[in-house]
Symmetry: C2
Subunit: 339 residues, 2 copies
């Protein structure tokens, strides 16, 4: 057995699991944004032909998996493990999406960090020979999230300037062993970080410290620096959280500004689309990674990307009970070459 | 890299991660049941000195982790990964329990199968060298589950004969590398199985088919039979689900009756404790495994145990939307010797 852990939080994928295929399914507002050319399927019907938004979200996960399998030329029976999660209570989008597939299923709850968590674990499964092909899937839906976390849409609640817009979308990545990349090269698992933020309309501020801590651990554990990446990207900090990250690193005297961005800022036109601080949700990082970023890697416009999924781990009930917002961030290093 | 998968759903732990320590924390009703001698800590206060049942559940997870660490003689900084989950929306018991620990955290949602899922993944992490020591933790609380899934306790709703009683308890297992067992020898990851059961008061019937399918896959993939175990134990099928499992195997002509039992049946005195079909919840399988069963293995009264965590993956909302109950079961083979 190799010793793959580096420091305490990080490990290397010495067998370099390859991304066999990825897919991004997105909603209407995402289709109107700057990344519209990179989604495999979009729909102007918020219910995707289903009877509820929750079922629509499940449908998007199904479509994401179907699309990725088609691209990779594989079938359900080729999939040894599927890691999936979402934001809905009891993660029903995920478990209902694959209930007829017969695919071995490992449910995750990492809030909006789920795609990164799924990649860490699916990567571990393929790297270690526990699975031949493994999938990571996650989703969110604006309407199902709003009514669960905030207000019924019909209530027409006002949104604060720091509020973010939950992305309607689902992403899927299939990992296996092949000579062609992109490859997973390393990962850093985050600890839960809670700086005491209690404003449930300011997720960016709650999650930014977790991203900062995980990035620091990643650089320390693996003896890397921001310049080893041409893109370091967080999942859904939005414009507020993005500024906080830049500020925290500035204090350390570490310049990441040149290579850092956030999927929540990238997915929408923040000036024109009335999304306040930007996109959020499991679907946000997922569709930006599975749609836009991996296409850029295929075209060799990006070579080394550190994808940092960020998740706020509170619930409406914990907020009602006066609790602050714990957050987590997992980072996965993806490269066009093995390193 | 070794090829560890066997068939599609199963894999072997070729490095045999060892159980360094385990702990079981339980509530008042559990303390009055037949396994009372096997809990590390119990409390007659349903709130465990906290201001809510949800915080009490989180407190139990903290205590479970603290107790297991103390037994193993390790500290938070020795823990490279913690896999945890629970039944509460957004799994707040788990993320709040470890928010001050600094331990790398991977959140799971497997409903009541969480301890088995955690063991599969923590086992993979230690077996593959991704983590030196990893923990699996899960919990449930009768009162927090009742008000989330069913009715406020004060409402005094009548319970049907097939209803089960959510166990108040938390369990923790620490895995690492050492010469002394018990060891994890193999695991089988379940697919989601949905036979169309819609009665949310009959979880045993909804979950039994998932347990049956996973057990069949386990025997097929690993070329084993029930007689290779001295105990095959499901997490929380209760008396109704237990009968269904026995019936399904009887139809196949496979006798498992002599070695099969269910934690939901074992944890309470079904005649005297007014729990109808028995115990349920993430805590049920967890405390029976981490308390009673692992003590029996230490004393060499049990040698090979197949622990099958069973989970019902619906939510109150999916039930309201007319959906049936998808279920999953993961099995972990634990032995006093490596095999």
């Amino acid at each position: 057995m190799g010793i793959l852990h580096r420091g305490r939080q990080s490990f290397v994928f010495d067998q370099h699991p390859a991304i066999l295929a990825s897919s991004a399914i997105a909603g209407k507002k995402e289709q109107e944004g700057p990344l519209k050319a990179y989604f495999d399927e979009t729909n102007t019907d918020t219910k995707w032909g289903q009877s509820s938004w929750e079922k629509a979200e499940s449908k998007m996960q199904e479509l994401a998996l179907e699309t990725a399998k088609k691209k990779a030329g594989i079938h359900n029976q080729d999939l040894d493990a599927l890691f999936a999660g979402d934001l809905l209570n009891q993660c029903i989008s995920s478990s209902f999406a694959i209930r007829d597939s017969g695919v071995p299923f490992l449910g995750l709850y990492g809030a909006c960090s789920t795609m990164a968590e799924g990649l860490c674990l699916a990567g571990m499964a393929v790297n270690g020979g526990y699975a031949r092909i493994a999938a990571a899937v996650s989703s969110s839906h604006f309407a199902s999230a709003e009514r669960q976390y905030r207000y019924p849409l019909g209530y027409g609640g006002q949104r604060t300037p720091t509020a973010q817009w939950t992305v309607t979308g689902a992403g899927c990545i299939l990992l296996g062993r092949q000579e062609q990349g992109p490859f997973l090269n390393a990962a850093t698992v985050g600890a839960v970080v809670d700086y005491g933020i209690k404003d449930a309309n300011n997720m960016g501020a709650a999650m930014a410290p977790a991203a900062y801590e995980t990035l620091r651990a990643h650089f320390d554990d693996l003896q890397l620096s921001p310049s080893d990446y041409d893109l370091i990207v967080t999942g859904d900090l939005g414009s507020v959280g993005k500024e906080i990250i830049l500020d925290l690193f500035r204090r350390d005297g570490v310049g990441i500004g040149g290579v850092y961005n956030d999927c929540g800022v990238m997915i929408f036109d923040l000036e024109k689309q009335d999304v306040h601080a930007g996109g959020s949700g499991c679907g946000c990082g997922s569709v930006v990674l599975c749609g836009y970023l991996l296409r850029q890697m295929e075209r060799k416009k990006l070579h080394n990307v550190l994808f940092c999924g960020t998740g706020a781990l509170m619930s409406p009930l914990s907020t009602q009970q006066g609790e602050s917002i714990p957050a987590v961030c997992h980072a996965v290093s993806i490269g066009t070459e093995r390193r």
